[in-house]
Symmetry: C2
Amino acid sequence: MKPAIPRLARYLPILDWGRSYGRDTFTSDMVAAVIVTIMLIPQSLAYALLAGLPAEMGLYASILPLVAYAIFGTSRALAVGPVAVVSLMTAAAIGKLGLASPAEYAAAAIVLAFLSGLVLLALGVFRLGFLANFLSHPVIAGFITASGILIATSQLKHILGISASGQNLVEIVGSLLENLGQINLPTAVVGAASVAFLFWVRKGLKPLLRAAGMGPRLADLLTKAGPVAAVAVTTLVTWAFGLHERGVAIVGTIPQGLPPLTLPRFDWELWSSLFGSAVLISIIGFVESVSVAQTLAAKRRQRIDPDQELIGLGASNIAASVSGGYPVTGGFARSVVNFDAGAETPAAGAFTAVGIALAALFLTPLLFFLPKATLAATIIVAVLSLVDFRILRHTWNYKRADFAAVSATIALTLIFGVETGVSAGVLLSILLYLYRSSRPHVAEVGLVPGTEHFRNIKRHQVRTVPSLVTLRIDENLYFANARFLEDYILNRVVEDRAVRDVVLMCSAVNEIDTSALESLEAINHRLREMGIRLHLSEVKGPVMDRLQRTDFLEHLTGQVFLSQYAAWRALNGEDAGEPGREAGPRAVPA
Amino acid sequence: MKPAIPRLARYLPILDWGRSYGRDTFTSDMVAAVIVTIMLIPQSLAYALLAGLPAEMGLYASILPLVAYAIFGTSRALAVGPVAVVSLMTAAAIGKLGLASPAEYAAAAIVLAFLSGLVLLALGVFRLGFLANFLSHPVIAGFITASGILIATSQLKHILGISASGQNLVEIVGSLLENLGQINLPTAVVGAASVAFLFWVRKGLKPLLRAAGMGPRLADLLTKAGPVAAVAVTTLVTWAFGLHERGVAIVGTIPQGLPPLTLPRFDWELWSSLFGSAVLISIIGFVESVSVAQTLAAKRRQRIDPDQELIGLGASNIAASVSGGYPVTGGFARSVVNFDAGAETPAAGAFTAVGIALAALFLTPLLFFLPKATLAATIIVAVLSLVDFRILRHTWNYKRADFAAVSATIALTLIFGVETGVSAGVLLSILLYLYRSSRPHVAEVGLVPGTEHFRNIKRHQVRTVPSLVTLRIDENLYFANARFLEDYILNRVVEDRAVRDVVLMCSAVNEIDTSALESLEAINHRLREMGIRLHLSEVKGPVMDRLQRTDFLEHLTGQVFLSQYAAWRALNGEDAGEPGREAGPRAVPA
């Protein structure tokens, strides 16, 4: 085998699975593709509507991007395309530009997809996927829940047939209430019926089918066809009763044909004003996508490579931007359907693309009478399953700092919109973590009688001696807590004249950075002026290696003990022999 | 004793030391005050020059602020007033406003002192002093070194008698080179002679005095009077030879009298454009001041309270702003002099204030012929002692990430100026820390034969079994590294079909946040799908307490072992008895 192939295959996973592609795999992928195509048609149209874009852009975003992901992605079952949260973020990003014409709006969406693709590719090439980690789970959970509420609320206007706008809950609700008088009754009937039908399909249809003797997988897949049924029925009804002449907004003419070739408009001002949004969309999209991909891969003991996933999603977004689409990512519901339907390779995604392309070529005239209210209903039902406030109770019980992050994210997203909400959530998570680690847990410990173990004097009955203070530091020592340690130790000993020795027990210290080293030097120096010796115990290997590269150990007034018990025996006079001293050329007798 | 006193004394430390104030203390404080006054007069004038302000503002900043600190500060020996780095930052903050008239410039300095005072007071009242910890030692060291270079370079124009300006090294040097043709020879002679004299005083005078039989303390104090001698001699020479008529720039008329009562101009635009600078000045000033105060306090086994220090410095800056001064903080050199001269209480600072007030009342006419070149020389000699590149070598050897932070801080401060430099340094420190902790050290461990200890299989000869993977995680588990752990564990086991059990050894894990908990749940779930059990060992008390509040332990496929050795024995079949199981109602047999 040529050695070039595996290396190239890292960037082109298709070379890996493509070589062993056979008839059986083809059949499995084909079945999955047909099912996902049926599910994706109404979704694509609906999410384009949510993003404030013409319906066909949803279809275009579901063709080439899927092919690009099939070539560059590592997940075998991920189904990419337009998704709810990214569509909402697209609407927010472009909405704030205040563009007048729909053409400019569409052009901005194409630029956004292009920038988002560049950001994802850059993160992948430079292996910066770890940046996504700064979106903590609680922040994501809060953001998704708040986005779900925003999306559902924003779609109410289509259900009621009134006009409304806004980037946050206050604006949207205010705008809805203002225009409530203009409700269009036929629209409201179609909308409410669709919502009710879709909820029933989701909750009530499956038990019914099972009771009728249908297998669980087939029953599950049939319920996913609910939106298609709603689309078909309401389109027919609208056509038959001429509801569009009675005020029901319809999708109207969708250009028939394959996606046009588009190029992002090279406008520096537009690029710089969309760049921040593109970063947010990329990271949110990546985090959502990679967790779905990881969950599905583990089920079949497969591997995904997060950095290559960035490249796969980046290629998808570039593909979206050159074919009249808008930002895409891996969708949760449709990937699960793809997986359950038996997709074995990314080729299933490419086949889905063919399905959507056929729809764009031949089905669009049939969608002329499709009411926008039906699409809004499919969105509302889909996103309400994202809304989940249990994370609030869970974090409240488990960790209050996380509760603070999740509630701030929800509140700020609802009040100020998606971009402020998620940025504030990330910032708050980082600040809270730094705050916590800047005030580390320090326990004064004593010997558990009859053992060699040391425990917190506040929690346990332990032996101590007045001349010896032993402090166990339960945190890495670094700049954010270096000064805290100085204050803590000096405050402990400054007025306790009995103290002769201070031992820092370092069993949980994985790192001592330059700031902390200087603080230890300062502590050593100040304790010496008080006639107190400073010792260390249970220093980890890598930490000790570093310390030995400095002159800290030369100046240390006390010793470095291998174990806390050795320190206790040596400093307590219980042991006349040699203490368990860390050996080394720099060892200086106390 | 009334209980109100101690509580009030926390905010008014003067109530504490004031009660036992006696004649001996008075004498000590008085001697120190006289010496510091002599040192402070040229410094005040020089730093005002550096800040781009009229000389008298330096004197004013050395009167009321000292009284305010004496009332509210907790350090017994800290000497506050104008200092080099804060003066440079003041110049940078006001310089970027592009103000035309000197009066507006002075008004902006007063506003800056007021804002800085408010920021410090707010940080003190809300006990937010920990925020200063985010300035790591390497960033401070780099910043101080780069500032020293900037300051020294910026003063060259006064030494050479040419005009030059700029906020960063490139601008300053460019401007100097451009105007190099206009050198004023008499100025250059005075300037160069002053610099040479002051360097000689610093390096050569003390050994000479010691050799002549003078005691070390007196010799030390006399060398501190060097700047006063330079001021006196060059003023006399300028007056005698009429050098001011030959192009030597002199200080000129300094208004005679006590500080005027001033109020900060309430101009919203000015306030908002200076606010960011005020925050930076406050934090830099606080960090500098508190480390001097802490060093001196430890020498006498005294305590300082960092949060009260914020209040003391805040009060000083408010005092500066209402009495025609500009931002102040505790100075390093002068606090050491104050301490060495025997200052016992903050009253020494108040006495110094009286000394400076007397100077403002009676000495200013004598300073009419003082050449600016002499002041520039005192600044240059003072700040060059701040320049210290050893931090580069030290961090290079000790920790490369810290080296990156310090070199970036130096480079950015020199190239883009003080505000960009220090902000970038702080940001970089935080990012590097988060990056490091997002890729924690995970060691696969095995049993050291004949012991109960477990060590890294890469570093030691240890026993392992193919069905058991034990991973020791040397870091807290939180959102930034949660996903890393998922990837790491799954990559380790996904292609190793022999693995039946994975044990996470948590002896260095002080925290598991909600994100990490969800990752552990995901790991548990995914391992279960591969037929692998997940176990934990050596979980700390507080971490276990939290886990028991969730349903994680119910779903855990494996067990929680008290010690890693218990896990080894139980999972390895070496022990038929009961493993060292963590007891509890949620315990589920494996």
